[in-house]
Symmetry: C2
Subunit: 231 residues, 2 copies
Amino acid sequence: MREMTLPESGPKRKLLDAAERLFAERGMDAVSIRDITDVAKTNVAAVNYHFGSREALMSWVMARVVVPIHEERLARLDGLERKWSGKAVPVEEIIDAIAKPIVGQARKSGLSESPFYKLVGRIFAQQADGLPKEIEAQLVYENDRFKRAFAKALPSVGEDELGWRMHFMRGGLIHLLTHQELPHRQARGRSADASMDAIVGRWVRFSAAGLREGVEPVTSSKKGPQELFDF
Amino acid sequence: MREMTLPESGPKRKLLDAAERLFAERGMDAVSIRDITDVAKTNVAAVNYHFGSREALMSWVMARVVVPIHEERLARLDGLERKWSGKAVPVEEIIDAIAKPIVGQARKSGLSESPFYKLVGRIFAQQADGLPKEIEAQLVYENDRFKRAFAKALPSVGEDELGWRMHFMRGGLIHLLTHQELPHRQARGRSADASMDAIVGRWVRFSAAGLREGVEPVTSSKKGPQELFDF
DNA sequence: GTCTATAAAGTGATAGAC
DNA sequence: GTCTATCACTTTATAGAC
């Protein structure tokens, strides 16, 4: 685990917590420095003294949310690759390693679940824009690791096609995180299991099917040369 | 086609055009009344005189973008249901009816393609939030029509499950519209066809596979996706 | 209808007292 | 380190002249 130099307490920590809560509740653009210092019970100058600017504070907030998810994802993927020792990891398990860390971190977070998911979704939606360069690079590495895992599991899917399918998949996750409440409203009380785990499970299966589109199911041994056109 | 009372020319039209362009280029939150009146070459009071408020102008801009797409979607769905006369419409064709109108309207729009797609994506992302109530109701109706069409094609998929799968599907489309450039960057020059038509085609197939997850393929008559690729 | 001038409130950032 | 006071701007909206 890379250690981030983030304070355990003190005013910096109070500002980060306050900003995170407000960003989650209202969206990044709708929170002023004064809103943050009011909640953190510091003076208005504290943000600029401790972080240099509102922008810099925003970066730290995003980093603090994203980095643990990133690290848990890589740890899970490492684990899977060890478990399957060189062989391709099944698609569903790879996708699981993308989604589960979000649910896990939501519980560890001081925020309630729904705002936390919205915050994470918004951060992923703007695709790391505004994150410190160093962390952006980590996310690029993460994306590459997962892409290679998928490529191994789906050798007949061309590289460009795979990139797009991962893009669509990610979009589904972001929409789920930021607008969890919409399908819930439609399913008035009927819903079998409304927990995030269940919903994420639906997303995993949906995405796995999408990624596998056009790929012949492996019945017993390798089938004939497919030569799928990947438009 | 429902006729909207939108001016063909004059200052109202100039303001709508300017606002649309700026919203598309910079995002809804990053455009001030002054930015708009500067581009429209009117005085600052014009927005409030003609529309009452910045918010109201925003609603009109969104409506003007969304309504033609909405109407073309319904027209296409009507056409498909006529064509298949009561029988279930194939999933790919329904999804096509969701996506194609966006590409069509992009060409009719005065904006260049990329900003137009971003604008549409952002409007869909906030799920009609901020739209006039009347138009929001139209979108709810549209969603219901498409959901019923999918339900007919996929009778073994439960209603809640279908709602979630459509949600994931929509998320993929939104992400595609708002971040079209990301996978393009990965595929440096290799890409076979980078047109929006081709990308939307990829999304249609991805989504169809996701919607069909767990559904037994119909083996009775000619199977396979042969005649479905009309992109 | 069009325009200027201005109100009233908010913004991020900072100088300088303590 | 903490805080107040304030700067220099920007925001939406509107009153009132033309």
